[in-house]
């Protein structure tokens, strides 16, 4: 295994509060220039981990290495890492311009350079018209841009984003996610996002680490994590999943629904597999392998697609076209051998 040395490396980080382990022996290698997401439910330790990277929290043990330099005991003010806080934490007594200039001024950068860089940041985030206003005069979405500009103007090696969209409404959030992704690709900087929203994680990230109880449960590209969840928690946390339990012998999976071919070879004799509802193929003709005959029990309209609940099951199929299916119809399902993910504990 070759290690990518450029970038941010976390080595065996531990952090406890009293008896609670917030971060449990986490090691991560984040490549320079990638959009990385820490995804997990609230209280899983993702924010603590982010704060450790920022230098706002001290780990009990473990190393933080940035571009080959050990910054474990470097204070926040020395780290070339900037943060967009969940509350934005803008300075209420400073104008938008001065808010963005803060990080440059505190390092005694010359006024002309400050003006140049702040103006560039204002333009990039399309907030130059409000530079003379104060944070309390701006909307939530505008303040979020200010927080982003205030961090980015320092050209940090790593930008940390702590649930930056939690204060925005759903529609705006979807728009900002795409913008954030484009911005990161344009700048080529390392972004680390913390979120509990799996859609957000899937939209923006190059790679995702799913956290639970202070540990990293799974780590990979959005496709890997979504299509091949390693265990029940990941399968259910990232969207909908059909969980099927059975036993594995003679090279096949034996379940209550039938005997199936699967591509993966599980390490267990008895366990679960998961398949996303949208990967199940539904047709009138019996498929060649992994076929199930099922009855439609319920159809739920979801706008862009339909969720169809079937018996035996409960099995769920998600499809964008439901042709002429109605409740009570009998259909054939095919659980693709490649699409079934073997789960581990």
């Amino acid at each position: 295994m070759t290690t990518e040395m450029k970038g941010l490396n976390l080595k065996e980080i531990n952090k406890s509060y009293g008896n609670v382990k917030a971060v449990d022996n986490v090691s991560l290698d984040i490549k320079s220039g990638e959009f990385f997401t820490l995804l997990g439910p609230s209280g899983c330790g993702k924010t603590t981990l982010l704060r450790i990277i920022a230098g706002l929290e001290l780990q009990d043990s473990g190393l933080v290495v940035l571009d080959d330099e050990d910054i474990t005991i470097q204070p926040a003010i020395k780290r070339q890492i900037n943060t967009v806080f969940q509350s934005y934490a803008l300075f209420p007594h400073l104008t938008i311009f001065e808010n963005i200039a803060f990080g440059l001024r505190s390092r005694k950068i010359a006024d002309s350079e400050v003006n140049k860089r702040v103006n560039k940041a204002l333009e990039m985030l399309e907030i130059d018209s409000m530079q003379k206003r104060f944070p309390h005069q701006l909307s939530g979405g505008q303040n979020q841009r200010v927080a982003l500009a205030r961090a980015l103007v320092n050209e940090p090696k790593v930008l940390l984003l702590d649930e930056p969209m939690s204060a925005l409404d759903a529609k705006l959030r979807a728009q900002v996610q795409v913008e954030l992704r484009r911005l990161q690709q344009r700048l080529g900087q390392t972004f680390i996002l913390v979120t509990h929203d799996q859609d957000e994680a899937l939209v923006v990230s190059d790679r995702i680490a799913v956290m639970k109880d202070g540990e990293i449960v799974q780590f990979g590209t959005p496709e890997q994590v979504y299509d091949y969840p390693k265990n029940k928690f990941v399968a259910e946390f990232l969207g909908a999943a059909n969980l099927i339990s059975g036993t594995y012998h003679d090279g096949r999976l034996h379940t209550d629904l039938g005997v199936f071919e699967i591509e993966d070879t599980p390490s267990w004799d008895k366990g679960d597999v998961a398949i996303r509802p949208e990967w199940i193929k539904m047709s009138d003709i019996k498929p060649e392998i992994n076929a199930i005959k099922a009855t439609v029990k319920e159809i739920i309209y979801r706008g862009t697609n339909f969720d169809i609940w079937l018996d035996p099951g409960p099995l769920r199929v998600r499809t964008s076209s439901y042709k002429k299916i109605k409740i009570g119809d009998e259909v054939w399902l095919e659980l693709g051998a490649k699409e079934m993910a073997v789960l581990h504990e």
Partner: protein, 266 residues
């Protein structure tokens, strides 16, 4: 429902009249052109001009001002750093409880008990140094004591409302300790400090009981002077003096209200 509204309005207006009637009477008789009695004898400002020729009153006004200014300056400083010291450090829970109790003492103890304690304490200090003879110094010390607690309470609530986020953001943006203090903490804290100082100043001007117990013959303040005077005889001159004190209070209160409202809206 209409009937209730009417009753409420009448009750409220009468209550306000009840609060203001005595004060209006004081102002009214301060321009009455007679030395004795409460019969209207025509308008005059004589009582006001005579105030400024009265050495005792001018001296009392000076004492009041010195007491209020000195005690406010010292207590604002002490209260502010005390508030920072209490809020911004990881003290054990038990210690916080004790500190908090001490800070609330002047709020929950009747001021006459505090005044009595001061008399006794200065009695002991007097045996060590003649500095602690009843007089202005004792009054200043006593005022600083209760003002410090009030300032600390006001500033601390402001500190809590500023929160941790903004200071962490400043650190994240490369601010050193002095830079942080001058550019973030102090500017954000200023409304709290000013509000605390205004409260301290008004409390000092307004205080009678504690001054009464700690004052000496040479350190009479305006409230003490008025008290001593009305026990002997109520004169139009006292009405004039009281009216001026009233007007000063009104100006102070209105500016204090405006100030806090301006910053609470933000």
């Amino acid at each position: 429902m209409k009937k209730i509204t009417l009753i409420v309005n009448i009750a409220a207006i009468s209550t306000m009249a009840f609060l203001y009637l005595p004060l209006v009477a004081v102002a009214f008789f301060s321009v009455n052109n007679t030395k004795y009695g409460l019969i209207w004898k025509g308008f005059t400002l004589d009582w006001y001009t005579k105030l400024f020729q009265n050495e005792l009153i001018l001296h009392a006004a000076w004492n009041t001002l010195v007491l209020a200014v000195v005690s406010t300056v010292v207590s604002t400083f002490l209260g502010t750093i005390l508030a920072i010291g209490m809020d911004r450090f990881p003290w054990p829970k038990k210690m916080n409880t004790v500190l908090d109790m001490i800070l609330h003492l002047p709020v929950i103890i009747p001021d006459i008990i505090f005044a009595a304690a001061m008399v006794v304490a200065f009695g002991f200090l007097r045996s060590a140094s003649t500095l602690f003879e009843p007089g202005l110094l004792n009054m200043i010390i006593a005022h600083i004591t209760f003002q410090t607690a009030f300032v600390a309470l006001v500033v601390r609530s402001r500190l809590v409302s500023i929160g941790k986020d903004v200071e962490e953001a400043a650190r994240d943006l490369y601010a050193g300790t002095t830079y942080l203090l001058w550019k973030v903490t102090l500017p954000l804290l200023t409304p709290g400090i000013v509000a605390g100082a205004m409260l301290a100043f008004t409390l000092s001007l307004d205080d009678f009981v504690i001054s009464f117990f700690t004052a000496g013959p040479d350190s009479v303040t305006l409230p003490l002077y008025i008290f001593a005077a009305v026990r002997r005889m109520v004169t139009p001159q006292i009405h004039a003096l009281s009216t001026i004190v009233l007007l000063i209070t009104i100006v102070l209160v209105i500016s204090m209200e405006r100030f806090t409202r301006k910053f609470n809206v933000k």
